[in-house]
């Protein structure tokens, strides 16, 4: 918290585009006298524009509020309800939130830079650690981008395995969200239930990929291993259980008066606000925009399965809760269709350039050994080019912008993290609300800090 700020230092920091380009404290939220009016408008949330270009609600932005009536407090980065190391600086008037500024970067690990030093074969071990609640989606978008540059068409079984795993991941991620959201709103039983069901999904992942998280299962060129024996039964039991339990959650939360009080008309966002702030996923859909990349720009085989896009009306916390709860059911529906329609065939592409030889061949053939060695040390070369691939992760549009210079390592790997972009809508959603609701709103954005900071 920094109530006292040297105006001179701040101006120098703002103007210092010189040598070092550093400025102490520049990322923080400042008292109004030392904040430029344009920045203040942004923090207050008036930047949302009408289609004709006028600034929205410029009349009711309370820029003129005297400074001595407000207080700037820090929330995080160690606050338990910020879901990691999110730090919010809030300007409060009593209990009412006036301005919010998310300060991020506490979990920055330079994964985009690391990605430039790893080969495409190693790349998926890196990206899987970004959004640690849906690692398979990260691997998927990286693999799809690499395959788009390579010009590879995956065998049908690969596509369907990927789709099924991606939907199971959505189930597990949304269950985790239900759990933490319940926790934030004081429903401890929901926390226990959410983790309990998520554990079922994770055990299936463990059986298939060997790990509960950070699988490195979906790789450029296919998946790491075929589905285990008896997977149909496992998945069917999983689907039956999770689907039945969603109705229990419904009973527990949806009609619960305290829960409804705390979610309805809290953290409202309008459709054009969400679009202007580039919010995607459940946040955008809660405002009534039926935008789901699985439906609107289909990838994998989403155009061959039957599912509904869940859309809200008011753009408040309750809509976002209802969307995620129903998306679990829709994902279960897709997974059931995957079990039904799973094609037989190879679980990876038989392209000698990207696929290592089977283990048995290495024992009997020198060429296979060399081939295996070359792929895992040197990697495969990817033609020059650049591509942007986007998928619908549980949190929104997960994009991968990949630039190749023709070598075996990405020249530039940029991940468009949905949580990173969605966090921008926090100041708008929190403004005018109560401090106690801030926790609920942060939870409903569902930020995963590993992905925000990358």
């Amino acid at each position: 918290m920094s109530d006292v700020v040297d105006e001179g230092t701040r101006q120098v920091g703002r103007a210092a585009w010189g040598s070092a380009e550093t400025s102490e404290g520049a990322q923080e939220l400042y008292p109004r006298p030392s904040t430029s009016s344009r920045e203040l408008e942004r923090e207050v949330g008036s930047v949302l524009r009408l289609p004709e270009g006028g600034v929205l609600n410029s009349g009711d932005i309370d820029v003129e509020r005297p400074e001595d009536e407000t207080m700037i407090i820090n929330m995080g980065p160690q606050h338990p309800s910020t879901h990691g190391v999110l730090r919010l600086m809030l300007e409060l008037d009593g209990e009412v939130v006036l301005r919010t500024k998310p300060v991020i970067g506490y979990l920055h690990t330079g994964m985009e830079k690391t990605g430039e030093m790893l080969t495409y074969v190693q790349g998926s071990t890196n990206v899987t650690r970004m959004d640690y609640l849906s690692p398979l989606n990260n691997e998927l978008v990286f693999s799809l981008a690499t395959e788009a540059l390579l010009g590879l068409e995956m065998p049908p079984r690969v596509v369907w395995i990927r789709m099924m795993m991606s939907e199971l991941q959505r189930v597990s991620s949304h269950l985790m969200w239900m759990a933490t959201n319940g926790m934030d709103l004081g429903s401890t039983s929901m926390m226990i239930y959410g983790f309990r069901e998520r554990e079922m999904v994770l055990s299936f992942f463990e059986k298939t990929t060997g790990l509960r998280m950070n699988h490195n299962y979906i790789r450029p060129g296919g998946v790491a291993a075929d589905l285990p024996d008896g997977w149909e039964d496992d998945v069917t039991v999983l689907c039956d259980t999770v689907e039945a339990r969603t109705y229990e959650y419904d009973e527990l939360l949806t009609g619960q008066p305290i829960f409804r009080e705390r979610t309805e008309a809290v953290g409202n966002l309008t459709a054009e606000g969400a679009l202007a702030l580039s919010a995607t996923g459940p946040i955008l859909r809660s405002t009534g925009v039926p935008w789901d990349l699985r439906r609107t720009m289909p990838y994998l085989a989403y155009d061959q399965v039957d599912f509904d896009v869940i859309v809200g009306t008011y753009g408040d916390n309750f809509d976002r809760y209802a969307i995620r709860l129903n998306e679990i059911r829709e994902s279960v529906r897709i997974v059931r269709q995957c079990v039904e329609k799973m094609p037989s065939g190879d679980y990876r592409i038989q392209d000698k350039k990207v696929t290592p030889p089977p283990r048995a061949r290495i024992d009997e053939s020198m060429e296979a050994l060399i081939h295996h060695f070359k792929i895992f040390t040197e990697g495969f070369r990817v033609p020059e080019g650049e591509v942007y691939v986007a998928i619908e992760s549980p949190r929104g549009e997960l994009g991968c912008y990949l630039v190749s210079d023709g070598t075996s390592k990405p020249y530039r790997l940029h991940i468009r993290g949905p949580s990173f972009v969605n966090l921008q809508s926090l100041p708008t959603m929190l403004r005018g609300g109560l401090m106690a609701d801030a926790v609920a709103v942060i939870s409903s954005v569902d930020p995963v800090m590993g992905e925000v900071d990358r």
Binding site: T22, G25, N57, E112, E272, A276, S278, V289, R416, D453
Partner: protein, 183 residues
């Protein structure tokens, strides 16, 4: 439930740009822009017309800036570009998305190393705020008109821009508490 309580975003005007039922005007790119076929449209534009081009796309129904990032082409100068586009060291890539037309377009603008400055898209898309800060933080590209161009991921006292190709990652010696001193 009602949305009549707190409504910070203001009221929703009729026929907002949000809905997919919004006006679908086919965007005509300005004639000086080179376009290339491929997965998604790619538009190249000179730096001084970058903002106008994006504004034209915005007006023709691209409601969302889905992504913005910078690329440092220091060690890959011979990349393939369409004719008429002079390669520069930096590139800013803006991914625009039209929800109503279900289309994407990628605007690539060349930014010279001697003067890494481009116009901000913040006035067109408020969502550009964090993305441009990230591009500034990672690559040192400055966005003119951005309301709060500060570091976003790196610490404030960090020197240099880590995603630049000449940044030299891993060359900073790690200090361990128990390690013997230099003497």
């Amino acid at each position: 439930m009602s949305g009549a309580g707190v409504d910070p975003g203001g009221s929703r005007p009729a026929g907002a740009a949000g809905g997919p039922a919004g006006a679908a005007v086919a965007p005509e790119p300005p004639p000086d822009v080179v376009r290339r076929a491929g997965p998604g449209d790619v538009a190249f534009t000179p730096r001084d017309r970058y903002h106008d081009l994006v504004a034209a796309y915005r007006a023709s129904g691209f409601e969302m800036l889905s992504d913005l990032c910078g690329v440092d082409y220091l060690t890959h100068p011979g990349r393939s570009l369409p004719e008429g586009v002079e390669p520069e060291r930096f590139e800013v890539v803006a991914n625009l998305l039209s929800v109503s037309q279900r289309r994407r377009v990628r605007v690539r603008v060349q930014v010279p190393a001697s003067d890494p400055v481009v116009d901000t898209l913040f006035d067109l898309y408020p969502g550009a705020e964090a993305m441009e800060r990230e591009a500034f933080d990672m690559l040192g590209i400055r966005f003119v008109g951005h309301p709060d161009l500060t570091r976003i991921l790196m610490p404030e006292d960090w020197e240099g821009h880590p995603l630049r190709k000449d940044f030299g990652a891993g060359r900073v010696p790690v200090q361990f508490k128990e390690a013997p001193g230099p003497r």
